[in-house]
């Protein structure tokens, strides 16, 4: 930004009969383009007809605008009903919430079992994450994949939408059964970030299937069969879950360029 020209210079610029060298005219013009205060000053110095002309143009434009059809209203994309993902995700979320509801019911009916809600918590967000980043589920994937908005940001936004449903549900379910909330939420977050991190290597879909299967085989089924508390879900392990989440989030940040296209495998 240039320094403001003197009031006297502006007065001479406005006066058509005054002599002003070209260089000063240029610098004043360049300054006026970006400085509303000096333009106001200039307007004061302008002779009457100039102001009249501006006023006339103003009324003319107003008349044209009033006669023309109303401009289209700008829909906000944050409005929920316009978001494709919200509608597409709904059945999956209903299924997950219903599954967690059944877990709570099972817990109350058979108190001898280990906490089914915490056992299901790590795998609960995985279907939603798969839907968020898969060619099969997004009809416009080819269009989306070539836009600048495609990438880790879009995946994280969609994952956040999934977690916005899962996390309150888990909180409700754990408070209903008396299980510790941290042991439901931390594994849930750890599995979500690990799915995304593993997704940069083998694709989000396969990563989710792999992690879900591994969890079911190594922890979920043995815990249900033996009715014992699994080692990975003892209260002492929650700091470890938090550390894993942070470490894996670092991996995701390093490998974020792998998400430049929307795909379940690359």
């Amino acid at each position: 930004m240039t320094t403001h020209p003197k009031a006297e210079t502006i007065a001479r610029y406005a006066d058509r009969h005054a002599v002003l060298d070209e260089v000063t005219v240029w610098s004043v013009e360049a300054h006026l383009e970006g400085c509303p205060a000096c333009r106001a000053l200039l307007a004061e110095h302008l002779p009457g007809p100039g102001l009249d002309l501006l006023a006339r143009i103003g009324t003319d434009i107003d008349a044209v605008v009033a006669a023309a059809p109303a401009p289209p209203r700008w829909h906000r994309f944050w409005a929920v009903q316009h978001r494709w993902f919200v509608w597409h995700l709904a059945p999956w979320m209903i299924m997950t919430v219903a599954m967690l509801g059944c877990a709570v019911l099972l817990q109350t009916l058979v108190p001898a079992l280990p906490s089914v809600v915490t056992l299901l918590a790590p795998v609960a967000p995985l279907p939603g994450v798969v839907v968020a980043w898969s060619r099969r589920h997004d009809p416009a994937w080819e269009l989306l994949a070539t836009t600048p908005a495609a990438g880790l940001g879009m995946l994280l936004r969609r994952t956040a939408a999934v977690l916005a449903v899962i996390v309150p549900t888990l909180a409700l379910a754990t408070s209903g059964t008396g299980a510790p909330l941290a042991l439901a939420l931390l594994p849930c977050l750890a599995f979500t970030t690990t799915t995304i991190a593993l997704g940069t290597f083998i694709g989000v879909h396969r990563a989710a299937v792999l992690l879900g299967t591994a969890w079911t085989l190594t922890t979920l089924i043995p815990a249900m069969v033996t009715a014992g508390e699994p080692f990975l879900l003892r209260p002492a392990t929650s700091p470890a879950w938090a550390v894993v989440t942070l470490a894996v989030a670092g991996v995701v940040a390093l490998r974020s360029h792998h998400f430049r296209g929307l795909s379940s495998h690359h």
Partner: protein, 267 residues
């Protein structure tokens, strides 16, 4: 009326908008659909011709940055495209109409084009007018607030073109844009193409030789993953003789080039 920013009027720092040297692109896991392609395109409308399976769609996908090159170099607007390059800047200046594009059936045409404009990271205040302009240019003004699922095939195609041109792209890639358009709409579309080609690089893939002759300044012919001819439409016509297959001079030129190329390949 649109305010033109200084960045738009700045002279480009690259020679070719699209420049490929020895480009290889995979379709699927193994198959190299584009294999050793050399191509240099400046501003104007370029028609991409070739038989089925020539690699046209794969080339279009690679130029649209949907597929990463498997070998060779690809430079778009002066920026090299690789597996690790940051594509955000280039993608803002790209327009792409895929051969078959999925869409969200509940969206209206305006919402669809607005959503694409938003994904292309256009500045918020300019979006409504840019969307209206794009819809007007493809002749969908009367259908702007109809849902996508109620549109006919030709209208969908035009909605696809509208989303491709909404950001005034420097490189516009249209894969089979005239499929489903009636004769009158095709005439309008050619007019639009000539208009777009004055200051951006437009690549139109098509099977319709007469569209290329009518609207393109330049012809690129592909076969088996390589460019076998690049020149003006007059050059293409000059290749055809009275004995070649085809109903128009350009079609005769097309079939003569293809026949000659196949004969050379068989030897």
């Amino acid at each position: 009326m649109r305010i033109v920013s200084a960045a738009e009027t700045a002279p480009p720092t690259y020679h070719w908008a699209v420049h490929a040297e020895g480009l290889q692109v995979r379709a699927g896991r193994r198959y190299l659909a584009v294999d050793g392609l050399d191509l240099a395109l400046g501003p104007g409308v370029h028609g991409l011709l070739g038989p089925n399976g020539a690699g046209k769609t794969t080339l279009m996908r690679a130029l649209a940055t949907a597929l990463a090159p498997a070998g060779g170099t690809l430079t778009l607007l002066g920026e090299q495209i690789g597996a690790r390059s940051d594509l955000r800047g280039i993608r803002r200046d790209l327009g792409y109409l895929p051969q078959q594009f999925g869409f969200y059936p509940r969206f209206t045409v305006r919402e669809f084009v607005e959503y694409m404009a938003w994904l292309k990271e256009m500045p918020g205040q300019g979006v409504p007018s840019a969307v209206q302009r794009a819809i007007d240019r493809v002749g969908l003004t009367a259908k702007a607030d109809a849902r996508m699922k109620t549109l006919s095939g030709g209208m969908l195609r035009r909605a696809g073109i509208a989303q491709a041109i909404v950001n005034d792209p420097a490189v516009l890639l249209l894969d089979e844009p005239t499929v489903g358009l009636d004769p009158e709409q095709r005439l309008d579309f050619r007019e639009l193409l000539r208009d777009l080609g004055t200051d951006s690089c437009v690549l139109v893939s098509t099977h319709l030789v007469e569209d290329v002759v009518a609207a393109c300044t330049d012809v690129v012919m592909m076969n088996e993953g390589r460019v076998l001819f690049q020149g003006t439409t007059a050059d293409l016509i000059a290749h055809g003789g009275p004995g070649d297959a085809g109903d128009s001079p350009a079609e005769r030129g097309y079939s003569a080039l293809l026949r000659r190329h196949r004969a050379e390949a068989a030897r």
